[in-house]
Symmetry: C2
Subunit: 358 residues, 2 copies
């Protein structure tokens, strides 16, 4: 019976698809103490095993058979719990039917600078993990307290608050792990050839999350929510630029970095991304006013109900739509210097963001 506590690079998926160490021990009982084997494998030395096995035997001496059975039952239960809780929570949140706008932007940005799209796939997955993590944490009872997301109950509603916090943490670390691991890349590409690109891309991703990105936006957003006072437009913009635009910008820029874009190309694409980032939020605000919950897959009119400041509230619906068109044309302008065919996905993504109905 092979039993190991080693930290394997693929353990995240292994934990999910194969029995946990203690479950394996329970499933294949052995005459020798599984505790001793664990200690032996962990430390590679017999004398640890001896101490631990002696102690375990002593504590289980009166009811040895029951102890093992008990261990087996509990192991299976914990295995199921871990599986159902953490991994399913991550999977649930990740696969709840998002539109995958950020990954698409990342792949399209890689392609527009001439990079092979598969190179950007780990980064594309990573930005969606970060996005999902921010949704899971923002929806928490102590934050926005949202029950519905993408038409489904939110993560903490299904799995509880502790697991939702931890699933967010795990998704955040998984995003960096995914980008940094050779194993994430398709076999025909060699990310180790371009480690400097990977480091730079990881820096961009990390930057858009913390106190210059998602988290900063959420902090100011929390400050503003619940106050009946009107939020000035510039603070609204601060929130959106951090909560929404920062990650959209990172998605595009990371794709361009991985694809080997020049600094000039990267900066053009950064401008493109900033415009569509703000555009994304203006359109979100418009949809919240004009669409039903069913059409949106989330609670509609929530911004109005919670007295949240939105673009339509500050500018009116017509001016908001005009503003959206301006942002769209500004984004499109940045694509002019790229090959028309290669820039088509980014062009259409901008149009999609501007004119989407949910």
């Amino acid at each position: 019976m092979a039993m190991s506590f080693h930290f394997h690079p693929l353990a995240a998926s292994r934990v999910h698809f194969s029995p946990l160490p203690f479950a394996a021990a329970a499933g294949a009982p052995s005459p020798s103490s599984s505790v001793a084997i664990a200690a032996h494998h962990q430390h590679g030395r017999r004398r640890f095993s001896a101490i631990v096995a002696t102690a375990a035997a002593a504590s289980a001496a009166t009811t040895e058979f029951d102890f093992k059975a008990y261990m087996g039952e509990r192991a299976v239960a914990v295995n199921r719990a871990l599986d159902a809780a953490l991994h399913d929570a991550m999977r649930y949140a990740l696969l709840a039917g998002g539109k995958r706008v950020r990954p698409a932007l990342c792949l399209a940005a890689c392609a527009v600078v001439g990079g092979p799209e598969p190179w950007a796939m780990p980064a594309a997955a990573a930005v969606e993990m970060v996005h999902t993590m921010s949704l899971v944490h923002d929806d928490l009872p102590c934050m926005d307290d949202d029950d519905l997301r993408r038409g489904k109950p939110t993560c903490h509603v299904v799995y509880g608050e502790p697991i939702a916090v931890l699933a967010g943490d795990a998704l955040l670390s998984l995003s960096f792990h995914h980008m940094a691991s050779v194993g994430s890349y398709p076999p025909d590409v060699d990310p180790e050839k371009h480690p400097a690109r990977v480091v730079r891309a990881i820096g961009e991703l990390a930057r858009c999350i913390g106190s210059e990105g998602l988290v900063a936006g959420q902090v100011v957003d929390l400050e503003m929510t619940g106050t009946s006072e009107t939020v000035p437009l510039e603070r609204l913009e601060y929130i959106h630029l951090h909560k929404t635009a920062a990650l959209l910008e990172a998605s595009v820029v990371i794709g361009a970095i991985i694809g080997g874009g020049t600094d000039e190309q990267i900066e053009r694409l950064r401008k493109y991304a900033r415009s569509i980032g703000l555009l994304f939020q203006v359109v979100d605000d418009i949809l919240d006013v004009t669409k039903s919950s069913e059409e949106l897959g989330k609670t509609a009119g929530k911004d109005l109900a919670s007295d949240k400041t939105t673009y339509p509230k500050l500018l009116g619906l017509e001016k908001s739509r005009e503003f959206a068109e301006e942002l769209l044309s500004d984004a499109v302008e940045q694509l002019a210097c790229f090959d028309k065919e290669k820039a088509a996905p980014l062009l259409h993504l901008a149009n999609y963001i501007a004119h989407r109905q949910n």
Copy 2:
């Protein structure tokens, strides 16, 4: 008046030490609408400004002077809130007097393989950020619900639950940002020379957090807490290997990677780290039984009170101490092949972990 929404690499510290964009706007009122300037700077185009300025003027038309004053007051208040909340929460948690064992291990591992210690300083800071983040989230009311940490009220007690969640997220992303940024490294070292080492180190760091590390340990720990049943030793070990040993292992391994250690050296140091990782927890359990809250700087006897399974409970105090000595000698054995002088810090760190009194 320069006003910018650009995402500056140093914005995290700038936000803390200088006024926020909207605070700056409020502090230096200008005849032109600050909203228009923001839009102009953001998009570099006049026609956005025109739309936004018109709308802002319309909404503020009746009470223009009051509106500006109001904006100023609110901006200052929000600035203070952001500062006091997010950054102070991060700073509070980070600088609450930890023993810095993990950073010390990281630096010592870099040195033992012959690397210049300053190269590992960003990584050393990063592992402490990750450690602090895990403490902040584990202490949350929905998790272990701990009020006291390192002798001080925990982060959420001081700043509230939402800020504690977000401060943890920000610390986690900051750790990766710090490792990936050229600016983190001393001017006399060039991390860009060794981007492959940085990528590999980032992968190690990310791996020890999620579903193979801290988070996995916390999930199983939560499962176990509150049950009056005895936790089998192997599951206790699973928790500790994930909650404690994984990050200690990463700290050492990352230092060795950045320092340019060979694969063989790195694997030896990994074994050293695993032994002291488990040792760390065994000693923690022993101290919880034998010391007062005042001596520990955290609630003593909590494990017993909460029916938490510990090594002393499972093995008895004497066997636990014996086990600790075995782990120590195993760790020390791994250092035999390194230069004695260079290995001295790692040797003394192992002794410190084994014989510390809090």
